[in-house]
Amino acid sequence: MNSKHGLCGVLVLASVSALALGSQQSSAPVTAPTKPVAPANHAVQHQDDGQRVFQQHCSRCHTAPDGFSPRISGTIVRHMRVRASLSGQEEEELLRFFNP
């Protein structure tokens, strides 16, 4: 086994494991909501802010994934914080957008 096989093997094995675990998750997957359903005004504002952050930063390069576990929403947002240089406040707004 050489270095490529070692490191990439870990990534592939981890991917397969993650897919298997993902299929066993009991928590509902997060979907990027487009319209909030009758929430309070401040919640609507948070949703709007989060949606604005998503549209102005994330969706410049890619569309929203269909759904994902709420356990990784923070990691996704952290990743986007690096990629799109989000502020701490925008990070929170995006996190609320993913977890209304």
Partner: protein, 354 residues
Amino acid sequence: MLRLHLDLTPLASAHAFRCSIFVAAILASAYHGAAQDTPLISGGVGFFTSTNGGMTTYLPIVEPLIAAPLGQHVLIESRAALLEIFSPDGSHRPGYDHKHFIGLTYLQGDYIASRHLTLVGGDFLIPFNTYNDRLSPIWIGNFQDGPLIASLGTFSSGSGLGGMVRGYAIARNKYSIDYAYFYSVPSSNEQFSAQRGTGGRASLYLPDQRLEAGLSYDRLLQGRHENFFGAHVWWEPKDTAFRLRSEFGRGQHAQGYWVEADYRTQAFGGLDSAIGRIEPVIRMQQTFRIDTIASDGLPPVNTERADFGLDYNLPHNTRILTSYARQLSVNGNHNVWETGIVYRFLAPAWKGRQ
């Protein structure tokens, strides 16, 4: 950019072991993160076909990505590519030959000091123009082929080994300017091959107009000490699913540009309707050779190419990509037919805390 490695020389297995331990340690050390900060495994699985001049090539590919936050300010991330190419033997002989490629695309650590400053260390994608570090994942690109000028300014491997700073120089409600500056050291390591060079990118973004324009420059500090210049303009009008992206790149020996537009209609039940999932794509590109030194990965002669694509965005993060391209040059004109399907996966690396 995908880094391909063909010759699988038997390097020291100790190095492979160290790499494996390193990745495992990253994931393990992130285990105690907050409930929403579980490390993730993402990426794309694809199967592509390309018919060029009557010869069809098949390409199954996996691009896994891991991201693991450590505390509130640190993120470790990496992407790799594993693929197999099945191509005709050629010379009118029956049968197919196949080769496999395995490569690490990048492996970097990020320290987020503020929105104005993020420190990046490790093996990172070179921020020259936009394709290399923003559009190259197979689950993002609208075509399975990258643009003809994708190799300009990316130092052959597409990645640098060293450090990078990035962030917003100015962030206002009406406009913002972001920057990225890197310095790369030379490395002949099989996984982290890089060349000595430096450069960066600055972009202006107007959120109301959804308009982005940027300039890139980098310089190779070894060998021929070449300079590369780039410019990009993106326009994605608000409340539409129309996107216009373009880049221009100029190197020491060649230059070129590409313009790409794609659109999804919302007029027939929104983007998630059967019609709204259809995505026509068009890309026009040209390359111009300045001299005969073809060391930059661009075609050896002036080339024009038009790509016409029709993608379909299936539910559950799956895309079908189809396209026809006509490539014109003095070396001959030919058609390229491409089809493919890509599934994007995204899941926790393990079950984690609820």
